[in-house]
Amino acid sequence: MGYEDIAESVISGDIDGIQAQVDRYLADGATANEIIEQGLLGGMAVVGKRFKEGDMFIPEVMRSARAMNDVMVMLEPLMMGQAVASAGKMVIGTVAGDLHNIGKDLLSMVLRSSGFQVIDLGVGVTAEAFLEAVLREKPDVLGLSALLTTTMPAMQQAVKLIRSDPAAASVKIIIGGAPVNAAFADEIGADAYAPDAGSALETMQELVSV
């Protein structure tokens, strides 16, 4: 069985059609895990790639994510405790003094749809709260967002605090937001900068694989 039709429905965001397809696969004896890993995640991998290449756009990615999430809800009772392989784990938040959520929310959605586990700390997150979350969640990557020039120092403080704690220091840190850039990432000791959600997905995959 190919699961191509399910992947195709994820890519086109066919929210109505995909459920009937999944029902047919289940009736033919497919397991929830096979449907998720080969159908859904296979489809989302294409979505992520096309989004990165500028061939798909945010509303289309949201529609694909919605189709996928609807199926996940459907399949959850059938999983019987089997874990879906996670692509990696990220803690994300917008830094203290900054309440912008759109970029962070968008990236969270793209990452979740691509199999990452995302713990979203919200907006206005203090350096201490980031540290606490890194110690608690042990993520592969910490994502920091800042949309104001005046909150760039808060980003710097968060990185500094994380790096000063031996139990947290090794987490990979990726930053994003309108006023920041790769030079600033270097300057404050972050591992990477991503200009948009598509590149952030790719950078995440690189950071997790090393």
Binding site: F57, I102, L148, T149, T150
Partner: protein, 266 residues
């Protein structure tokens, strides 16, 4: 009154501007702001916030450079009252101050700064819970901001409410929400001014120029009185001038026709 264009180009987040500021390349800045003025900018927005540790000296240099080159006033763009206080002492014409919001820290720092100053104020409909979620919420926040500013003596026609435009790509209702918000603000606060950075509407979508241009016309139709845009964007300025003309704000179609002759509307 004609639509108020606030020229957004002088921002050290933009690489070309950051480089020019770092190199103290006055010719670059002078050329840029002269073109903005010629294109119809009513204010030149100045944001010197992106070179951390250099904000003060960058702001001082930019103000000196810009104000000797153009006759339109500046819009001082910073959330930091200390930087604004310093900049305010250097302005030669009554500026706009960008901005105050309902975020507690900024609100409490900005109100004492603004008290007694001769300036216009941009007031963002943002509070500690984040972006507004409905047009009613925008209007409520606008009423709070206007009340506070009028309470410290800022006349209503110097208050520029920014309803905060959010991307249509992540929520299909955000365009209509903004239009309803502008209509509601004008209804509840007659005589108030409104402005916004409207290109956020098309974030993440292709062919943004068409979205921005149509949205600008719709916002002007809803009663928006100004916007923070790039005056060197010919399409946007063509929309501004054409809609101003269609609203009867351009006697004998004079500005429209001179923009056509100047090759700005083609």
């Amino acid at each position: 009154m004609k639509f108020t264009v606030i020229g957004e180009r002088i921002n050290t987040s933009r690489i070309a501007v950051r480089d020019a500021v770092a190199a103290r390349d006055a010719a670059y800045i002078v050329e840029d702001v002269k073109r903005q003025e010629a294109a119809g900018a009513a204010y030149i927005d100045v944001n010197a916030g992106a070179r951390l540790g250099h904000e003060t000296e960058d702001m001082e240099w930019l103000l000196a450079t810009i104000q000797s080159a153009v006759s339109v006033p500046v819009c001082l763009d910073s959330p930091d009252p200390r930087l604004l206080e310093l900049a305010f002492a250097l302005v030669s014409r009554e500026p706009l101050v960008n901005s105050i919001s309902l975020e507690r820290e900024r609100y409490e720092a900005m109100l004492p700064f603004l008290k007694g100053k001769e300036c216009g104020v941009i007031a963002l409909c943002m509070d500690d819970t984040g972006l507004p979620q409905s047009s009613d919420q925008v209007v409520e926040r606008a009423i709070s901001l206007a009340g506070a500013l009028e309470g410290i003596g800022v006349p209503r026609d110097k208050i520029h409410i920014d309803p905060l435009i959010q991307p249509i790509g992540t929520d299909a209702t955000k365009g209509y929400m903004a239009l309803e918000a502008v209509r509601g603000i004008n209804q509840q606060l007659p005589g108030i001014r409104t402005t916004c950075g409207l290109s956020n509407i098309s974030f993440g979508l292709p062919q943004r120029k068409f979205i921005n241009q149509a949205f600008l016309a719709l916002l002007m139709g809803a009663g928006l009185t100004g916007a923070i845009i790039d005056p060197l964007d010919d399409r946007m300025m063509a929309t501004v001038k054409t809609v101003d003309m269609l609203f009867g704000r351009d006697e004998y179609c004079a500005d429209f026709l001179s923009a056509v002759r100047a090759g700005q509307i083609v």
